[in-house]
Amino acid sequence: MLTTTFLRSAGRLAPLLLATALLTAGAAGCDRREEPARPDGQAAQAAETPRRGGTIVTGWISEPNGVNEFIVPSNQPTNELLHQIFLQLVDERPDFEQHPPTFAPELARSYEFSPDHKTLTFHLRDDVLWSDGVPVTAEDVRFTWQAQTHPDVAWDNAFMKESITDAEVVDPHTVRFHFSHAYARQMLDVNEGMIIPKHAWEKLPFAQWRQSREWFKENLVVSGPFTVASWQPQQQVVLQRNERYFKKDRPLLDRVVMRVIPEQSTLMAELNSGQVDFVAQVGPGDAPSIRANPRLQLYAYWFSRLTVGVAWNLTREPFSDPEVRRALTLAIDRQSIADTLWGELGRVASSPISTGFWGHDRSLRPWPYDPEQAKRILAARGWKDSDGDGILDRNGKRFSFEILSNAGNQQRIDAGVMIQEQLKRIGIQVVPRVVEFNTMLEQADAGRFDAVTSGMTVDTGLDLTSYFHSRSVPPEGINFMRYSNPEVDRLIEQSLKVMEPQAAKPALDRIQQILHQDQPVTFLWESQRLSAASQRLRDAEPNVLRTLYNVEDWWVREP
């Protein structure tokens, strides 16, 4: 309650309207992964001097799942918490818009590849301690790799370590990774996962890890800027400054509280009343009222990893025909959909690699909205309204199909309805259907659907395998469209094989051009993500990688 007195006012009705609006608009979490932003009006006060001390209460709609990421399901709060308590070898910078991501030193002072790129050597800092005083060494790095790849631990992301054959301890502060071959993602793959404490966690055999979530909380030692002071399940996690953190002048804050508030309208109410200082994710509907509130600040940043589109089932008639898919794209007014749902916070997407990535093909332009052309294409393929009922037909079969969306994701549900209306104008009958999330996934995986509004997330390694490679058809991957194009398969493999990520650009451009012609997915929009904070919070720079990205530099105006 340290902050209750800060923002307090009487007689405002806005939050109420906001609250009820949110109940219907809840921006639901069915996106495959999370990303970062930039403050709205903070540049003006850049002259202020940071001060030490104070507490920040951050608000999240779900609880971190635990402190051992190799056994718990991943979600945004877990990822954000882990980065506050542990270190990685290096820290991926959010600079992937202009070029492949670069890495800042963290646990490792420096690193170098061998000339053939088959070994990668990290030189660790020698002044980093676990919170119990034990030094962090190369042994911890090796133990982390062993845990990540152990079958009994069964880490979700273990596939990223498939090409690493060994993590060799050269000396206490030098560790050398050996790879089976050289490829573009080596740095990303080797760096994935926080370094965990060998001396504390090796006491529990790997076979017991999957049932011991609480044990890791009880036996936690940290190396990051904060340590866990208390964990109240389903309520809040209190993070306390780690006095043994290797950067002696960081973090500036004494405490960061991660408060779990599953209902978005309650979360917004607490932001308004000053009980919460920072909300990691707010919906686009809240942007105007946050901007209008002088005690709040809004951070908006392109959610580069995610594009949303209508994915077609290519094994079903008539979606198996690329001409028909192009006609459908031409007949869907994507600009008006993006404008309606996102306003200035969104734009029409044209590729699975969004415009926020260096790998986006800048020569690509979204298909225009041209229903007349769409009609001509369909007529040439034999689709005519021969019985005069207003709906196109061919060989006695009407052009009618279902679009699936998942319950709770209002934007995608709304998009389905708008598409229904737009396609009706050229004589296509669309039935939007809303199903529970797991049901949607199962139908998509089993190929029991016509079309599905779906988000596609591509990480900063720009690996398109799981969506567009022919061997990624479920259950092996998430190519539920059943897209199969030998040239694209080859280009994807080629884009991953290069030694320097930059060298993949020609292959990535070509893939995007082919997908643009083939339209296995009609891309609808890419959008910004929003975080909000009280004005007392200074120097926060949330981004798509993490909203708490630079939390050690955050500070508050008064305690």
């Binding site: 979700d156 979530r213 509280v257 996934l441």
Partner: protein, 320 residues
């Protein structure tokens, strides 16, 4: 009487087994399984490995029998797949806050419904009666989440006197026992009031109806005729009879409040069983879903059993 109780107990147990079996089957019929998470790029091999770790690779009947025997013989609910810890631990953490909230709400409900119900039953057709009817009808027809949001708006924003989320304040560890109790009560206030006030509408109608019906009976007229005070007539003679149906409802309304507490738990960020069960369903965490269902079923059956006992005590005809 003992025979009656045993018969009821046996029926409850059979019902419990049926409920659990049905839940088990329904959960496995629902699409999805805990290893097909979104974004997961598990290879088929990894997926098999996970299924082995959590025993999902066994045939369904075997999974069912294993689970039933482990619960019945050892009281062991298994390991939660989404929480990587024993289900019993998850239940232990979530049950007390839910019970606390449900009993607090029950207290509020009856603290409003009993006196007000009696007051309006004594003056049927009065302005008070009409007023209470309209207000309670309006409140009871609102969705709980809406009442909850209004309460947050009023008492945490416009007039910020009560916290709108969690069970404790930040400085809880440094508080004295007295301050801790006060802190807990302050956090309990909004959810308990919202649930209690909401539920009191229907109970109030029941109290009024039951008492009105009793008050027209002959023995009440006798009691009045022999000159007892009206207070004594209503509270001692009238209420004793009128309470039987109310007590029966009492047990059932505890169950209703446990249901309503899911909404309160979500909106007020109150920890508890509702959220545990809800999140488990979304994650297809079968062991937790089964355990929470089992617990809820035990509650309902126990409440009904209790209601039957009360009824049997109050009315000898039921026992035969």
């Amino acid at each position: 009487m003992l025979g009656f109780l045993l018969r009821r107990l046996a029926a409850s147990l059979i019902l419990l087994v049926l409920v659990l079996t049905a839940t088990f089957i329904l959960m496995h019929l629902a699409p999805g399984d805990p290893t097909n998470r979104e974004a997961s790029r598990l290879t088929a091999e990894q997926r098999e490995n996970l299924r082995r770790i959590y025993g999902l690779d066994r045939p369904l009947p075997e999974q069912y029998l294993r689970w039933m025997t482990s619960v019945a013989l050892r009281g062991d609910f298994g390991i939660s797949w989404s929480q990587q810890r024993p289900v019993a631990d998850a239940l232990k953490a979530a049950l007390p806050p839910t019970l606390l909230l449900a009993f607090a709400a029950l207290f509020v409900e009856y603290a409003i419904a009993l006196p007000l119900g009696v007051a309006v039953a004594r003056r049927p057709g009065s302005a008070l009666d009409h007023g209470v009817r309209v207000v309670s009808l309006i409140i009871f027809s609102q969705p709980v989440f809406w009442l909850a949001l209004m309460a947050i708006l009023l008492f945490s924003q416009v007039w910020p006197v009560l916290p709108s989320s969690l069970m404790r304040s930040l400085g809880y560890e440094q508080m004295s026992p007295g301050e801790r109790l006060l802190d807990l009560l302050r956090h309990l206030a909004l959810p308990a009031l919202v649930l209690g006030v909401w539920a009191s509408g229907a109970t109030l109608r029941l109290v009024r109806g039951s008492l009105l019906e009793v008050m027209s009976r002959d023995y009440i007229r006798t009691a009045r005729a022999k000159g007892l005070s009206e207070r004594r007539v209503v509270w001692v003679h009238g209420m004793r009879t009128a309470l039987a149906p109310i007590l029966q409802i009492f047990a059932v309304s505890l169950v209703g409040l446990l249901n309503g507490s899911l909404v309160a738990e979500v909106i007020f960020s109150w920890p508890g069983m509702g959220r545990l069960a809800f999140e488990a369903v979304l994650a297809r965490d079968y062991p937790v879903v089964l355990a929470t269902t089992a617990l809820a079923a035990v509650f309902v059956l126990a409440a009904n059993f209790l209601a039957d006992v009360i009824h049997a005590l109050a009315d000898p005809r039921v026992r035969e």
